[in-house]
Symmetry: C2
Subunit: 197 residues, 2 copies
Amino acid sequence: MDQQDLYGLLLQHVARHIQLTPEEQQYFVSLLKPRRLQRRQWLLQAGDICRYEYFIIQGCLRSYITDRNDVEHVLHFAVEDWWITDLESLLTQSPSQVSIEALEPSCVLQLEREALQNLYQKVPAFERFFRILHQNAYLAQNRRILQNISHTAAERYEAFLERYPAIAARVPQKYLASYLGMTPVFLSQLRNHKAGK
Amino acid sequence: MDQQDLYGLLLQHVARHIQLTPEEQQYFVSLLKPRRLQRRQWLLQAGDICRYEYFIIQGCLRSYITDRNDVEHVLHFAVEDWWITDLESLLTQSPSQVSIEALEPSCVLQLEREALQNLYQKVPAFERFFRILHQNAYLAQNRRILQNISHTAAERYEAFLERYPAIAARVPQKYLASYLGMTPVFLSQLRNHKAGK
DNA sequence: CGTCTATTTGAATGTACTCAAAAGCGGTGG
DNA sequence: CCACCGCTTTTGAGTACATTCAAATAGACG
């Protein structure tokens, strides 16, 4: 992956919402630092303070918490062209409850908290960009809450397959179960019963 | 409630995140229209297209969906100093799945979608304001998803009492149960068992 | 005061979980 | 290239959490 491709995906992604002058682009890119991860490597570990927003240019990651019974709960999956971070820790600079782990060899661009603050100052269009981004993230969360509240485990699984087939095929089933709020054992039973019907 | 008080709460609310010149304030206020609601009156009905963001200056409302079995699921409560809308419908201008109903006599300020677009143009600081707002909304949703995924009904109820005692005391118990993703019958049992212990 | 709605109570049912163990699959080293 | 090891998925049985249905009681509003 050459330099061009390294930033190309993110610049395209940004261009879908705001227009930048070449100088602004240049400045934006100067704030980014690529980071490569092996499978199972952590981007953020619970207890650390999160300092970056991450944009994924290749690979697949998950964020999760570990509850008081040592059970992991997957919060999000993220693949190419998505962002991932622990916003709570990033904003409040408090120790993260969340861990972020690469499920595949991955490459991300990291944008530091302070650099982002400067970016807002120097290129206010990014206020708009992140407003739209957070707005959409909020919408997605809303849909997920609705799913969880008003559907059974089987229906949630079906809906996920429908909406995110690529991710369903890409991540281990046990993480999918966790994301959907059920045990891996139960998801396995669902899948096999479904075949039976 | 006189004119001063009508807009005072919102202007204070905005001032917590961005600073406005008197002219900008003036312009902002000119976009707002107060609307009074009786108990049980709808601010938005499922099927309608949502045209406004609403800021609540007095009262208490809930947003909810009705599923295919005619069961209602409460998405959000909102009281004074909070916003409420169906963002999905507002952004996509598609028929709303959500209804919004006043639980008490209430008064809101409505901000029309188009007016908001103009506001972004004329006073870009509002990009920042709504970025922060949506960011916080997203955080709150994240916490709620975590709660739902990793805690039992009893724990979710306890946590809600802890975090939003004022709302818990203010809304009918059956809506609280719905918000927490359980039946009113079960919530009632929880409360009484707890007393028994 | 009466009516309507919300909450409580009880019993039977169902959905999803835990525990335990077997089978499948993929990566690694001999 | 095959064999082994570790991790994931499957299978089965027993259990717990939460739901449904029905009916009684309590509260709120006109």
